[in-house]
Symmetry: D2
Subunit: 140 residues, 4 copies
Amino acid sequence: MDYLKVQREGARTPNQPLQSQKGIVSKELEALRDALRQFAADRDWDQFHSPKNLASALSVEAAELLEHFQWLTEEQSKGLSSEAKLRVADEMADVLVYLVRLADKLDVNLIDIARSKIARNAEKYPVDKARGSAKKYTDL
Amino acid sequence: MDYLKVQREGARTPNQPLQSQKGIVSKELEALRDALRQFAADRDWDQFHSPKNLASALSVEAAELLEHFQWLTEEQSKGLSSEAKLRVADEMADVLVYLVRLADKLDVNLIDIARSKIARNAEKYPVDKARGSAKKYTDL
Amino acid sequence: MDYLKVQREGARTPNQPLQSQKGIVSKELEALRDALRQFAADRDWDQFHSPKNLASALSVEAAELLEHFQWLTEEQSKGLSSEAKLRVADEMADVLVYLVRLADKLDVNLIDIARSKIARNAEKYPVDKARGSAKKYTDL
Amino acid sequence: MDYLKVQREGARTPNQPLQSQKGIVSKELEALRDALRQFAADRDWDQFHSPKNLASALSVEAAELLEHFQWLTEEQSKGLSSEAKLRVADEMADVLVYLVRLADKLDVNLIDIARSKIARNAEKYPVDKARGSAKKYTDL
């Protein structure tokens, strides 16, 4: 994990961007980022897109996604109709859009941080202890 | 998958939320998806990962992201310290992880739906009407 | 307060969401409101308590409440241990605290609006149509 | 705080309800609770009202409340129009409704837990240290 290595080496200056310089890049996510930049610039919406507001919007969209599932059983949630799935996918798109936009504003490399997080979770939840358990790692 | 069938048959109506027939793929997101599949399989966690539960978890992580901003002014949110940014990025990683996992379970192509959403938003928020306004499209 | 003025003048339309002219008051909720006012004044925290920030905080606490349930089955959620119930109750307290604080800032009578909401929901979800169905009223 | 006293004395049995028997009661909240019980019974909705589902619904309503504020500045959020305030109050009603319903299902006394929480927060945030600071108590 380059990301963890950077931390361990203490090589960050206070204003250094979070991502590693060489991090792994998804050109498709970069294309989304660029489309969203253009979208906001065309509408003069950057004034509304503070990280605080984007985090609110992301949270609201995540709740709208959850709304589709709130009265379903878990089993029902596994067998959505194609129509329901389209509505759910629509909310997922909103979540991704705000996540990419926030990552752009904060100069965060989404792929790098997710890879790093999975690696750290693998340490926090060792296979032998976590197997079949929904407990939080602090309770394992 | 009825959902994919609809796509293949090109049977979409004018409100079709999804876009391409063949789908644009981010191999980096696919690698995350595969890593998360393995992570869950190793721990026998698929039993907990119903779409309903994943949507809850995604929403919880989005709120944990928001928590970092809740008492900041918008200006302060634009000037996070590198330490605060690391904590924020950590929550963003959790959001992406659950989003990718949910997309896997529902067989949703994240890049496609986000591209499609941006295209539809461009229609809902025409540049001339939306310029500089935070109004919802229904109020434009 | 325009809002109260509207109430006093009886100028409501058929969609009026609020109910009584004089308002039903819970003296226990008023005591909470007063304790929270004092708490904030003592700490000079009113500067942070804009309605926008309080709505964020309320949403974050609601998600922390949800977190306790996210990996439980519905059945498990009905049989919480007393220890788990204490943790859950703790998050519920946070939700109520921010709700009361926001109601104070916006001069909203919580009891009145909840009574009014139940009355309107009774119209939106007629017993004969809604019986045993989790559908949204627009789909009944 | 009777609530804390009960904890300290270790007088709880594993299945003992959370609230103190003598707790402070708001008869207006009890009237809401009873109205909601009747509402659910009339529609055979208890089957959907597991604590897990109610916590989801509460979280979704809190996000709908937040949605009204997401693009506003803090100053704007302090000066809502009476029309906007009615819409906001409507979402606050939903939050209270689900909170009361969940408290009923879990046998939690909302007034008691909120009073207890305020008392504990007063200890966590001593006036001299917390004055004018938005820091979390762990960072004071």
